[in-house]
Symmetry: C2
Subunit: 418 residues, 2 copies
C-alpha cells in the first residue's frame, strides 16, 4: 500500500502541475529548459559518479554488455543531452495553435484549439538519456510527466532528477512538472498503469516484455512502439545500382535501430539479375543471409530461412531474403509478416509505386528511399519521443504534436440548440 | 474454445476484407451503402418481426422500460436508419486525402496520406439502430467492422445482418466487410478484446459497466465515451436573459443525452440577482434542484446536494447548483468533478471567456452557447459514431475522420541516409 500511496501522490501532484504548464507561455517553458541544461552542465561530476555506481552494479549482476553500453553516461552523453535540450528549446511550441472551422448554420462559431494531453507517464529501460529527452519534449508540449526508468539506472536517474528539481525550483513552473520515480520497486509500474484518474497517457519504451506488460495491465491509453521488421521489395523494373545503394544503406548503416532493413523481397523476374551482386555486397559487409529455397538455388551458401525468420526484427547483421511472384505477393507478405513500421518499394514503375503506397499498411511507406529515413529528425519533427506502430492518435515518429490534442471551442451569443 | 475459434474466424475474415475496402473507390462504397438501404427497406417486415421477438423477451425478463423503448425498431426507426445511410453516402470520403509536407534537406519528398484504421470492433448495448449507424460510418471510412450488439437485441441484429449480407453479396466489397456477431454468448466480448492481431480499434457504446469491462480487458486501443457531466458557469458579468435561455435549453430540451446540463456554477456576486428567477424557470419545467448551502439560503425548498452530486451525470430532470467564489473556483470545480465532456461559461467578459476556454480541460468548451451543441451534426461532421471523452486520437464528436489515420509516404530517387 505504501507504493500505491507514493504513486498516487506523484499522480495528484502531476495533475495539479499539468494545469500550470498547460497555460505557461513558450518563454517560461523555454527558460525552464535552459535552466535544466545549466544545472545538468554544472552537476556533471555528480551525475557521472552516480552513473558509475549503476555501471558497477550492472557488471556485478553480469548484465548483457550491450545493456551496459546503453547505460553509460559519460561526458559525451551529457553533451548530447544538453544539445537535445537546446534543440527542443528551438522547436516551435504547438500549444495554443487555433484552427478555425467557422460559423455553423445554427449561428455558433467553431474552432479547434491545440492543447497538451495533461499528464504523461513514461516507462523505460536502461538509457538514462531518455530521462532528459522525454522530460524536455513533455514540458515543451505543456504536459507534466512522471518518469519511471529502469532499476539498473536508478542512481543515474536520481542524480538527473536532482538537477531537474534544482532547475524547476528556480523556474516559474511547479516542481511536479517533471517527477522521477526514485525507487526501483517494480510495483510502481503496475500502480502507475492503474492511475487512470491522474495519468492521461502512458508511453512505454523498451523491450518486448516491457511493452507486453504495459499492454496487459494498463487502463490508460498507450502510445507504443512494437517491432521494426522493415522490408524492401525489389520490383520488376528496379535499377540494379539503386538497389545496391538502398539495401546496403538500409541494412548496414546501423544494425540496432528500428528502421534498419530486416527482410528483402525480390520479384521473381529480377532475382537472377540482382541477387548475386546484392548478396556479394552484403557478404563483403559480413551480413549473414537467410533465404527461401529459390534464393538458395540462385546463390550458393545461403542459410535456409525458417517461417519464423519472416517475422523477426534481427537488430543485427542478418538479412532474410525471399523471392516473390510479383508486387501482389510482396504486399501480401509484408502485411502478413511485417510490423507496420516502415516498408519500401524499389521500382521505376509508377503504377506499382502507387499501389504499394496505398496497400502496404505501415506507418511509413517508401518509394526508392532508404528505410533509415523513418525518423523524427529526418521528417522535420525536430525530435521524437519514439516511433509509434499504433494506428490511433499518432503513427510513425512521435514529435511534439503527438504529445498534444485538440479541444473544440464553441462561441455563441446566447445561442441555443433548436 | 469454440467461441474463441468463432471470434478468430471473424477477425481473420475482417482483416482480409479490410484490405479490399481500404482500396475501394468512394463510388463502390457509396453504391454498397445504397444497396444496404434498399435491402433494409425491402426487408422491413422481417426486421420488425424479429424485433418483436426481442421486445417480447425483454418484457418477459422485466427489462427496464427505458431499455425496452431503446430496443424498439418500428417503421419510423427503420426510416431513420435509411435516412442515416443516405446522409453517410452524402459525406465526403476522407480516404486518400494527401497532405504535402514537402522536400526535406536530405532530398526525400514527404507526404501524409489519410488511410482507414483497418478493423473496427464495436461493442454496444440495446439500440439496434447503432448496427446500421456504426456499419455505415466504418464502411465509408474504409474499415471492416465486427459488430457485437447486446444480447437483448440479438434477433433484431441478426435480421439486420441478413439484409446487410444480401446487400454485400450484390456489391463489389467482400462479405466480411461488415460482420455481426450472431450469438448472445458473453464470452465473445472477451475474445474480441484480446484479438489484437486482427482488430485495430475497439469502440464500446453503452453503460458504465460495459465501458469499464472493456477498459479492463482490452489489449486493443479504445475510443471511448465515459460520462457527460456538463457544467455551465455563470460569470460575474452574465446577462440574466441569456442565462435563462441557455440554462433552460441545455437542461430541459432533452434529459437523457450526454450533452445535457447537469451542474450549474454561479459566481457569488451574481447569485442573488440570478438564482431566484433561474430556479423558478427550472421548477416550472419540473426540474428537481439540489444545491450547496449558500444556494439553499438564497432560494427556499432546494434539496441539499451531497458531495457525490457534483460528479453525477443525472440524465434526468435534476440539476445541481453551486455558488462559487469566482472564475478560478469554477474552473477548479469543473476540472475536479467534471467528466471532460462539455462545459460552458456565460459571460460578457472577454478575458474570463479566454481563461475558461484555455483552462477548462474538456473536449468541448463553450462561451455563451448551449452545451447541447456538442454533437457531430452540429459541428459539421455529418454523423458521429460517438463522443470521445478520451484525449488521444480524437476528442469530442467522432465522425468519419476519427475512424481514419495518416501514414507517412516518402519518395526518393535512390536516396540514402547519410
Amino acid at each position: 500500500m505504501i507504493i500505491q500511496d507514493y504513486v498516487e501522490t506523484l499522480g495528484n501532484a502531476a495533475t495539479m502541475a499539468s494545469r500550470s504548464i498547460a497555460c505557461a507561455t513558450s518563454e517560461v517553458k523555454d527558460t525552464t529548459l535552459a535552466l535544466i541544461a545549466e544545472h545538468l552542465d554544472s552537476d556533471r561530476q555528480f551525475i557521472v559518479l552516480a552513473n558509475e555506481l549503476d555501471l558497477e552494479e550492472a557488471k556485478n549482476n553480469s548484465l548483457d554488455p550491450a545493456m551496459i553500453e546503453r547505460l553509460e553516461l559519460g561526458p559525451s552523453q551529457i553533451d548530447q543531452m544538453l544539445e537535445g535540450l537546446h534543440q527542443v528549446i528551438g522547436l516551435t511550441d504547438p500549444i495554443g495553435e487555433e484552427n478555425d472551422i467557422g460559423r455553423r448554420p445554427s449561428g455558433i462559431y467553431l474552432k479547434k484549439l491545440r492543447v497538451p494531453l495533461g499528464v504523461v507517464g513514461i516507462i523505460y529501460e536502461s538509457r538514462p538519456n531518455v530521462t532528459i529527452d522525454a522530460a524536455s519534449l513533455c514540458l515543451k508540449a505543456g504536459n507534466a510527466c512522471i518518469l519511471r526508468g529502469g532499476s539498473e539506472a536508478i542512481n543515474s536517474n536520481r542524480a538527473i532528477g536532482v538537477s531537474i528539481q534544482n532547475a524547476l525550483a528556480k523556474s516559474k513552473l511547479p516542481n511536479a512538472s517533471i517527477q522521477i520515480v526514485n525507487t526501483p520497486d517494480r510495483r510502481v509500474v503496475s500502480a502507475l498503469l492503474s492511475l487512470s484518474s491522474c495519468v492521461d497517457i502512458i508511453i512505454p519504451r523498451g523491450g518486448k516484455s516491457l511493452i507486453e506488460k504495459v499492454i496487459k495491465e494498463s487502463s490508460i491509453p498507450i502510445i507504443k512502439h512494437l517491432d521494426g521488421n522493415c522490408h524492401m521489395y525489389i520490383d520488376d523494373s528496379a535499377n540494379l545500382e539503386m538497389v545496391i545503394a538502398l539495401t546496403v544503406n538500409a541494412k548496414t548503416s546501423r544494425y540496432g535501430v528500428c528502421n534498419a532493413l530486416e527482410s528483402l523481397l525480390i520479384a521473381k523476374n529480377e532475382a537472377k539479375k540482382i541477387l548475386p551482386s546484392l548478396c556479394s555486397e552484403m557478404r563483403k559487409r559480413h551480413v549473414e543471409l537467410r533465404g527461401c529455397i529459390e534464393t538458395r538455388c540462385l546463390v550458393e551458401g545461403i542459410k535456409a530461412a525458417s517461417d519464423a525468420d519472416w517475422s523477426l526484427e534481427y537488430l543485427a547483421p542478418i538479412l532474410s531474403i525471399k523471392i516473390v511472384a510479383d508486387i501482389l505477393d510482396a504486399i501480401e507478405h509484408i502485411n502478413k509478416y511485417g510490423s507496420g513500421h516502415t516498408d519500401c518499394i524499389i521500382t521505376e514503375n509508377t503504377d506499382n509505386a502507387k499501389r504499394f503506397v496505398r496497400e502496404v499498411d505501415s506507418s511509413s511507406v517508401m518509394v526508392n528511399a532508404s528505410t533509415r529515413f523513418a525518423d523524427g529528425f529526418e521528417y522535420g519533427l525536430g525530435a521524437e519521443i519514439g516511433i509509434s506502430t499504433d494506428k490511433i492518435h499518432v503513427r510513425g515518429p512521435v514529435g511534439l504534436q503527438g504529445l498534444t490534442c485538440q479541444k473544440w471551442v464553441v462561441y455563441g451569443d446566447g445561442t441555443i440548440r433548436k
